[in-house]
């Protein structure tokens, strides 16, 4: 009941004219960014971070969060109408959504995606209302050893849960930690890895790195192929769903939303993995599994519900424990730090207005997005006719001026460009970028809590085993590291067994 009373106060904050305006601005920008291939919500949030300087912290955070989940709605448009996922988490929507569009059912695909996203988003926020305070209360029992292992878990779980090479993910995370070490040692006060450069004394700011890795790099990749897209035409009346389509999809939305929330809460998993798992699971439950890949409306419903639920669920560890679940919540955390607010379990008690205002704003934001996506879908669809070639250079300009705004120095512009080049190479080499950003955000917590723990224990690592919560966390960390290794070894052995040729006597028979 405390949670509901707090939520009511949150609504009082979220429904002020200023916050309503900025929720609308955030979800609108998120919708547009999500629809545009070549730039994702994390890049959009990083680009707009400088705009939040001097804003009220709650207003800044509700706007940035609006971009994050607004991007999930926007990614559907290009997926369905152009067969190009506007956002990575809309890949499965592109598979079936575009097939539906070719058959004249683009409106149905867009409708069910919007309705599914709305219901799953509201459901996820409702669970967040009760889960976050419980997690924060539990987090108050944490001390340095637990925070160190939690930060480490944030990095190892990212490596364990992402598809693709675990080694590459850990390498990127280690690289991020090394970058974070540049500057002044927080305890001893000595220069570290500055190589005598004055500009590096304060370390490398998060913002120009994020702008470079996400904004600049993604635009560079998009410049490789600049064909003008021709979206399939769609009319307002096409958005109506038939009764049969709604009956087919309502359970898909429930299943997708549940999977999305459970996956989204885990650090490193994120909306993309959630959408994929929900799609695969839905194929098992669908009355028409053969339709999957050829225009399955329930497939679209499940994946879109999952990605939006996951985007909201990622805020549970961030608000409750101060551990970001993905790139978007990492940018949000850095926004909190820039506003002078310390993320962590104390956030709910030290800044209740901000936390509950944010949670209430997500209900409001989802209502706004439903209104934007249903009747205004043809309007957003017309934006897709603007050639990307006219958008790419302005995005680069906004990226660089945003980087400059951090310190009013061309040095940060140089940092953004350098990391833009690094981000481009990472995309080409199939290296995930989110672990780098996660590592940058978690590094201060990781280092300070590790050094404090070892100081308390006078150098003994047993402190991580003697405390019950940290012992459990240590086991979980080891599992996240070892289970993919065991899986890889088992898979390698299975492949070797199937390749062993039969004995000559058996062949002769």
């Amino acid at each position: 009941m405390d949670a509901l009373a707090s939520l009511a106060q949150g609504f009082e904050i979220a429904l002020t004219p200023t916050n309503l305006l900025f929720v609308f601005i955030g979800v609108l920008i998120g919708q547009v960014i999500g629809a545009l291939p070549g730039i994702g919500p994390a890049a959009g949030m990083a680009l707009l971070l400088p705009v939040t300087f001097g804003m009220n912290p709650t207003t800044a955070i509700v706007m940035l969060t609006g971009i994050m989940y607004g991007g999930m709605y926007g990614g559907t448009l290009t997926s369905v109408l152009v067969n190009v996922p506007g956002e990575a988490s809309s890949v499965m929507t592109a598979v079936d959504g575009h097939e539906l569009a070719k058959r004249g059912r683009a409106g149905a695909a867009l409708s069910i995606a919007a309705i599914g996203s709305f219901l799953a988003g509201v459901g996820a926020v409702s669970i967040l209302v009760f889960a976050t305070p419980v997690l924060a209360t539990f987090g108050l029992r944490f001390s340095s050893p637990e925070f160190f292992l939690l930060a480490l878990l944030g990095l190892t779980a990212t490596a364990s849960l992402r598809s693709g090479s675990m080694v590459k993910t850990l390498i990127v995370a280690a690289f991020g930690l090394m970058i974070a070490m540049i500057g002044t040692d927080p305890i001893a006060g000595t220069d570290r890895l500055t190589y005598g450069q004055l500009a590096l004394i304060d370390g490398l700011d998060f913002l120009p790195i994020a702008i470079g890795i996400f904004g600049v790099a993604e635009v560079l990749v998009s410049l490789e192929r600049l064909e003008d897209v021709k979206p399939i035409k769609m009319r307002l009346r096409d958005l109506m769903l038939t009764k049969a389509e709604w009956l087919l999809c309502r359970k898909s939305i429930a299943r997708g939303g549940t999977v999305g929330f459970l996956v989204g809460v885990l650090p490193g998993a994120g909306p993309t993995i959630a959408a994929f798992i929900a799609y695969i699971l839905e194929r098992r439950f669908s009355p028409n599994p053969a339709q999957f890949g050829h225009g399955a409306l329930d497939g679209v419903a499940a994946s879109e519900s999952a990605n939006n639920a996951a985007a909201h669920a990622g805020l549970v560890p961030m608000l409750g424990l101060g551990i970001p679940a993905g790139a978007g919540s990492a940018v949000l955390m850095s926004a909190l730090v820039l506003q002078g607010i310390r993320p962590g379990p104390m956030l709910m008690t030290e800044q209740p207005g901000l936390v509950w205002g944010l949670i209430a704003s997500m209900f409001v934001g989802n209502v706004m997005l439903l209104a934007l996506n249903l009747p205004l879908a043809p309007v957003f669809a017309s934006l897709l006719r603007v050639p990307y070639a006219y958008l790419a250079p302005p995005i680069l300009v906004f990226s660089l001026v945003g980087a400059y705004a951090t310190t009013s120095s061309m040095f940060t512009v140089g940092v953004a460009l350098l990391f833009g080049a690094i981000g481009y190479i990472m995309i080409k080499a199939n290296l995930p970028r989110a672990p780098l950003v996660l590592a940058l955000v978690l590094a201060p917590l990781l280092e300070s809590s590790l050094r404090q723990s070892l100081t308390f224990s006078q150098g003994s690592p047993m402190i991580f085993v003697e405390r019950p919560i940290s012992a459990v966390l240590l086991v979980v960390v080891l599992l996240t590291i070892l289970s993919p290794i065991f899986a890889a070894v088992r898979s390698h052995r299975r492949r070797r067994v199937t390749q062993i040729p039969a004995e000559p006597a058996e062949i002769a028979r």
């Binding site: 400088p50 705009v51 300087f53 001097g54 090479s165 080694v167 590459k168 850990l170 390498i171 280690a174 690289f175 930690l177 090394m178 070490m181 040692d185 305890i187 001893a188 000595t190 570290r192 890895l193 190589y195 600049v216 560079l220 410049l223 490789e224 192929r225 600049l226 050639p387 070639a389 006219y390 790419a392 250079p393 302005p394 680069l396 300009v397 906004f398 660089l400 001026v401 945003g402 400059y404 705004a405 009013s408 061309m410 512009v413 140089g414 460009l417 833009g420 080049a421 481009y424 190479i425 080409k428 080499a429 290296l431 280092e447 590790l450 050094r451 070892l454 100081t455 006078q458 150098g459």
Partner: protein, 146 residues
Amino acid sequence: MAVAIAVMLTALVALLGTGDLPYFLVDEVPGPAFLPLLIGGVAMLLGAVLLIQSLRGGEDDELDWPGKAGARRIVLCAVALITLAAAAPFLGLVPGFVLFLLFMLLVVERRAFWPSVLTTVMTMALVEGVFIQWLGISVPYGPFGF
């Protein structure tokens, strides 16, 4: 393989860069070199694992290079960005951005003249309105007074 070598070199730079810093301070307090040495060591190990995987043919880390037209656009864009960053303190940030936008739209992307000019005007209006006027960001001015 290139990724593995790059990581190992970066780790080596980090390890050498903290070589003269103390690993521990007094009373077993971890010093400034503690975590860089730990992270550098882990990165070296991971780099070695990736290198072995590459040599065994298990990891496909070939870079997906763009075609000729795409490579041209990227190289020109990179040159334009570096030139902008170098020239902006002398030319002014706003004139620098204008020239960058026109170069990208007309030369790199070979777009039509008037839509490119319109795009440039609208972009700079947003930069001026949002960043310079509203947020009050002080940008480098050039010889033209803006």
